[in-house]
Amino acid sequence: MIPDLPADRLTDYLRRMLVIRRFEEGLIELAGEYAVGHFHVYIGQEATGVPALAQLEPGDVGFTTHRNHGHLLARGTDPAAMFAEILGKETGTNRGKGGTLHIASLENGFPTTSAATGGCTPLATGAAFAFSRLGRDRVSVCLFGDGALEEGTFHESINIAALESLPVIYLCENNSLEALGQKANEYPSSTMAAAPLTDLAAAFKVPTITVDGTDTGAVHDAMATAVGRARGGGGPTFIEALTVRWPGSRPIWPQLLTGPTDLSYAWDPSAIPADYAVWHAEQDGLLRYVRELLSAGVLTPDEALAMDEQVKDRIERGVRFALDSPYPPVASALESVYA
């Protein structure tokens, strides 16, 4: 379903999703030619990240994990600066010091990315603690995958959040739905005896919501409920958003197995290729959202394509900017160790 929002907000959500999709596709191509460190892409989870994060207000913060690009872009981080960071350039979000695994954008509410699984749960809880103690009407969003629940720090964090009624939202993006059907040489997914995962939070008496992570409207509503609770002093919420892992994210290094996304798949099923047809037809939340916007009359195919062209152009310019940018001065390797 589509969120109950004005048309301009609905199309804004789509634009943000397209920015993420084209960014990640561009990055995979770029990686073939220019060595960047090991990275993880957000393709297939846009319909979770955008409705969840684009509704936050300035001053709200998010703490994210190794699959972070989509989160940062959803809140408006400049793709050019992110490309530059991933390539280790002076113009990057972290002046080249972080790389893909540690992108930060304070002005867009992302103090840091922690590449240690579960590393962001205490950080996000701590930010919520600060908001609570400072009397600020802000929320903190903790973004992580199902694997983070295997770390003890999650349990330590949510216990304190529940105890102190902290304004924190734990958004677990569980992309392991297809784990059982894995083939050899693919990474296994989480190793967890608890099912459903929401039971882990419910044990601490924290309200939980399970949502289809490809359903933009459902994610929007779940997040709105959680944000409302947090701002109203009602404490934490745990949301589990279920998605299917994009086939191109199954190999250790992402590959464009499904090809560059063709928006016409949304309105012309005959255009969908036989390879990964189920992905394009049923599992891709972005295409689902396009279909929903079309059927609601919010958008025409031509408008969608025009928007996509604008986004692609922006991404291309971002890539060029990053490639043309200088590397940071060597002396900066020793700067910022201390405040």
Partner: protein
């Protein structure tokens, strides 16, 4: 595994009295300056220690905590070597290197104890893994307090024990206080057994003042573990009648609370139960007297033993 003969009721009472007498002796020696260190006593928690260990065989593993004199005695540790360890004597179980918080009596299956809250739970899982890997039917028990429930390794361990169906019994001695604070200051969760059900681990909460109830609950868990049914969680509601450590005046506890728990004293309660079921009062008194005598002798011998040898300060760092 060689099955151990189940303890009789009088033997259970005797173990409880041994613990009570031992702990009171430690308290007395500490007050007199004859024992140093950071001492956590198990007075009031005898029902949990003895009830649990009465369900175990000698070769089953037990992993203790900072408050584990009781667990070691319940598992059958030698009183003199135990007291010698606490008193820093060379004849102690660990040559004085462990002290009160790091008891080890492997010959009776008491593997080790830890000063790190929840630190022993993964260790107990490891022993259970040994048992599975070697195809033995030893069961592993971890004792821990309610404070462990807020610690990450506790939750990680629940997951892994469930995932790997390990023969481990997690015995939570919930005495309602985490050091100097009530549990409610540390978590909104009242029953730690609730965590276990998240991982589909069978869990039960029992009254730690009732030693036989504890024994029966743990027996069921042990049988499940030996039968390949994986882990169990036994939450024992108990109370320490002393402070967090010797020297802690425990001002955080109300008088009425103290009085209530004195009435629930598991040792006196079990003695009453036996008297009511026809055991002559003089035999019950004899059990207490015998325990106090054994402890007095053990303490006297231990204190007469030579102190830990300073030459050993760097010994045993490596095998």
């Amino acid at each position: 595994m060689t099955r151990t003969r189940p303890l009789t009721d009088l033997e259970i009472l005797a173990r409880m009295w041994l613990i009570r007498a031992f702990e009171e002796k430690v308290s007395e020696l500490y007050a007199a300056g004859k024992v140093a260190g950071l001492i956590h006593l198990g007075i009031g928690q005898e029902g949990s220690a003895v009830g649990t260990c009465a369900a175990l065989g000698r070769s089953d593993y037990v992993f203790g905590t900072h408050r584990s004199h009781a667990h070691a005695i319940a598992k059958g540790a030698d009183l003199r070597r135990l007291m010698a360890e606490i008193a820093g004597r060379s004849t102690g179980y660990c040559k004085g290197k462990g002290g009160s918080m790091h008891i080890s009596a492997p010959e009776v299956g008491f593997v080790t104890a830890t000063g790190v809250v929840a630190g022993n739970i993964p260790l107990a899982l490891g022993a259970a893994l040994t048992s599975v890997t070697r195809n033995e039917d030893r069961v592993s028990v971890a004792f821990f307090g309610d404070g462990a429930g807020q610690s990450g390794p506790f939750h990680e361990s629940l997951n892994m024990a469930a995932l790997w169906k390990l023969p481990v019994v997690l015995v939570c001695e919930n005495n309602g206080y985490v050091e100097f604070s009530p549990l409610s200051a540390h978590t909104v969760v009242e029953r730690l057994a609730d965590y276990a059900s998240v991982y589909s681990i069978p869990a039960v909460t029992v009254d730690g003042g009732d030693v036989l109830a504890v024994r029966d609950a743990v027996t069921e868990a042990v049988d499940r573990a030996r039968g390949g049914g994986g882990p169990s969680f036994v939450e024992v509601l108990t109370h320490r009648l002393r402070g967090h450590y010797e020297g802690d005046p425990a001002r955080y506890r109300t008088l009425s609370e103290r009085e209530e728990w004195k009435r629930k004293d598991p040792v006196a309660r079990f003695a009453r139960h036996l008297a009511e079921s026809g055991v002559p009062p003089e035999s019950l008194d004899d059990v207490e007297a015998a325990a106090r005598t054994r402890v007095a002798v053990a303490a006297e011998q231990a204190l007469a033993d030579p102190p830990a040898d300073p030459a050993g300060v760097t010994g045993d760092v490596y095998v």
